[in-house]
């Protein structure tokens, strides 16, 4: 038996036609993966650093489901586990990568923030990836592949000048790109109101880029808005922006959350994944058990020291 055959199967990812329960399964798996990861860090089983996306899972699932995985490209950022798992479902490849194993998705060279698989790329420096995504969109437009490129960025990233160079180029060159903006209200420890003047929508509008704002907590709304943005980018060959306002519930990295307890409590009271779970209804319980089992398998496999292929 090859080592590959020993690996847990990837998650079944979703597309626009998937039922809500399937989207919930991916979002719950991302949440479970991130919590398991923080636990592994707390136990000292993994070194380095990581940035989890707890609270922001729904945007990752909905925006990615709106894409055509056969051709569309994704450029993600430092907080990219959800984007990656929603794109390919490869929980083992990601965990092995973070654990620094040779059978990780980048052989352990990239780690949490530097991932590549298929048409998915991520990097850990703010802003620069948005410019790279513009180049990818330009490449695909010139190839007439019909691909749309999705560039993930956060409200904190709007402090970087390269974002505006990239938006300007995307608008000037009429590129099929969707700026998927996660306005999670906090840049590491700095609240948005202390680091962003004006508004995200206003900044996009300055370049003539249409903006759709969503709560980021309602999967169906986000999927509809993302589908419209992706379709418009493809059909009109011009950039689109999509803002998700879901709040980051977890720490920036590991245990470095400086928000007051009451603020966090209020945020957790509005946990969008819990709301989605309710909407899924009776089926959610079985899904949760299934996800928990998958995470146990993935963790066991990553800890077991399967040989590199």
């Amino acid at each position: 038996m090859t080592p590959r055959a020993n690996r847990p199967a990837p998650l079944a990812v979703t597309d626009r036609a998937s039922p809500l329960a399937d989207h919930y399964r991916v979002a719950a798996a991302i949440r479970s993966f991130e919590q398991m990861l923080l636990d592994q860090f707390a136990r000292g089983r993994v070194g380095g650093t990581t940035h989890t996306c707890i609270g922001q899972e729904i945007a990752a699932v909905a925006v990615t489901a709106a894409l055509d995985r056969g051709r569309d490209c994704v450029f993600s950022n430092h907080r990219g586990h959800g984007h990656f798992l929603a794109y390919c479902g490869e929980t083992f490849l990601l965990l092995a990568e973070i654990f620094g194993r040779p059978d990780g998705v980048c052989g352990g060279r990239g780690g949490s923030q530097h991932l590549h698989l298929g048409n998915f790329y991520s990097n850990g420096v703010q802003g620069g990836t948005v410019g790279n995504a513009v180049g990818v969109a330009l490449a695909e437009k010139r190839k007439r592949s019909g691909a749309v490129t999705c560039a993930w960025l956060g409200d904190g990233t709007f402090g970087e000048g390269l974002v505006y160079e990239a938006m300007n180029l995307a608008a000037l060159w009429r590129l099929p790109i969707v700026f998927a903006i996660e306005a999670n209200r906090i840049a590491q420890t700095t609240p948005t109101e202390r680091q962003l003047a004006g508004s995200i929508a206003g900044r996009c509008a300055a370049f003539g880029i249409p903006v759709a704002e969503t709560s980021g907590t309602e999967l169906a709304d986000l999927l509809a808005a993302a589908s419209r943005a992706v379709d418009a980018a493809r059909a009109e060959q011009r950039p689109q922006a999509l803002v998700s306002h879901a709040v980051r519930l977890g720490p920036h990295s590991k245990g470095d959350d400086t928000r007051p307890a009451d603020v966090l409590q209020a945020a957790w009271a509005n946990d969008p994944l819990a709301a989605l779970r309710q909407r899924v209804g009776a089926a959610a319980e079985a899904i949760d058990r299934e996800v928990a089992e998958q995470m146990r398998e993935v963790l066991a496999a990553a800890l077991a020291g399967i040989d590199a292929p």
Partner: protein, 338 residues
């Protein structure tokens, strides 16, 4: 027939690259005809290839970022940064994006990107349009730094950077050299071209007629001052200097230097660069040669660095001349070794 200049050679190479391969995209600021780029290196290209020469806004970071994305997806972009002084505006892209992707994605991608830029002084352009900042990009894993000169074929070097390397190349053109005619005849020297898989961009070794008393090691804009100094030293002091004209600034072409060292066994090595010496290219060359010399248990070598003063390059020509290394500085440094 007029002799071809460095500028014409580079322009012809870009034209040929665009004609030969649809994957080549040229982008940068003010590249379009009739202007054809601030130094006219891209003149005529946008007329011949209107879809593949892209005018970009004043966004050096954005230009190199977009070119990196193009390279990731199968194109062979050639980006121009109008002045080498502006390289730091694209520095994060070169160091943290373009140069890293191949290695950090575990060799699963390639970034065949060329970033061309005119650098260097001696034209009175002052503190922010005269510098040779390339030393700050030496030693970046995954980034080649290459400089053409008039004693070899600059166009061939550019073609090599575009097509033969799968990683980003910073291609530094000395702006004073653009007008120099290409020279293949160099009386008094036997030219030897060193290249190989470890260091593909060639080093030109100009061996003097007799045994070399010492070596002048230079690149780009210091090549002509090196030739002038060597001529003066031969005439005035009866000293025979070999010239080592490097085109691959990074990674350091140690195999080339080792071959030259073994054959020349110089008593003196003088490095020439237009940037300040501290933390510079010459220091790296001297460290490399000294290590190779020690490994070969060869006789001691006297080393000197000829470089710019550590000051922002002044605008006034007399002050600029005083700040930048001159032929007489090279002569003095060589004599100081003997």
């Amino acid at each position: 027939m007029t002799q071809m200049t460095v500028l014409a050679s580079l322009n012809a190479a870009l034209r040929a690259a665009l004609a030969a391969d649809e994957r080549v995209i040229v982008l940068g600021e003010d590249l379009l005809d009739p202007y054809g780029g601030a130094f006219r290196v891209t003149r005529g290209l946008s007329t011949a290839f209107p879809d593949r020469v892209l005018a970009a806004p004043i966004s050096e970071g954005g230009i190199v970022a977009a070119a990196t994305g193009l390279a990731l997806r199968g194109f062979r972009p050639v980006a121009e940064i109008m002045f080498g002084d502006f390289l730091f505006l694209a520095g994060d892209q070169l160091v943290n994006h373009a140069a890293k992707y191949r290695a950090m994605f575990n060799d699963q991608v390639r970034v065949p990107l060329v970033v061309r830029t005119p650098a260097g002084g001696r034209r009175g352009y002052g503190p922010t349009h005269s510098q040779s900042l390339e030393k700050h990009f030496l030693g970046v894993p995954g980034l080649w730094v290459v400089a053409p000169h008039a004693l070899a074929d600059p166009g061939a070097l550019l073609r090599q950077a575009i097509f033969d390397v799968e990683d980003p190349v910073l291609f530094v053109e000395h702006k004073i050299g653009y007008g120099e005619p290409l020279r293949t005849e160099l009386p008094g020297y036997e030219p030897v071209r060193l290249a190989g898989t470890a260091s593909p961009f060639p080093t030109l070794w100009l061996k003097p007629r007799g045994a070399a008393d010492g070596l002048l090691v230079c690149y780009g804009g210091m090549t002509q001052p090196a030739l002038d100094a060597a001529a003066l030293l031969r005439e005035r002091e009866k000293l025979e200097l070999g010239l080592v004209v490097v085109s691959q600034l990074a990674p350091t072409p140690a195999t080339h230097l080792d071959a030259i060292l073994a054959e020349a066994a110089p008593a003196a090595v003088v490095t020439l660069e237009e940037a300040p010496a501290e933390g510079g290219w010459g220091a790296e060359i001297i460290a490399t040669i000294e290590q190779l010399r020690d490994c070969r248990r060869m006789a001691a070598i006297s080393y000197r660095r000829v470089a710019a003063e550590s000051t922002p390059i002044p605008s006034a020509r007399a002050l600029e001349d005083a700040a930048l290394p001159q032929v007489e500085d090279i002569v003095a440094a060589v004599l100081d070794c003997f």
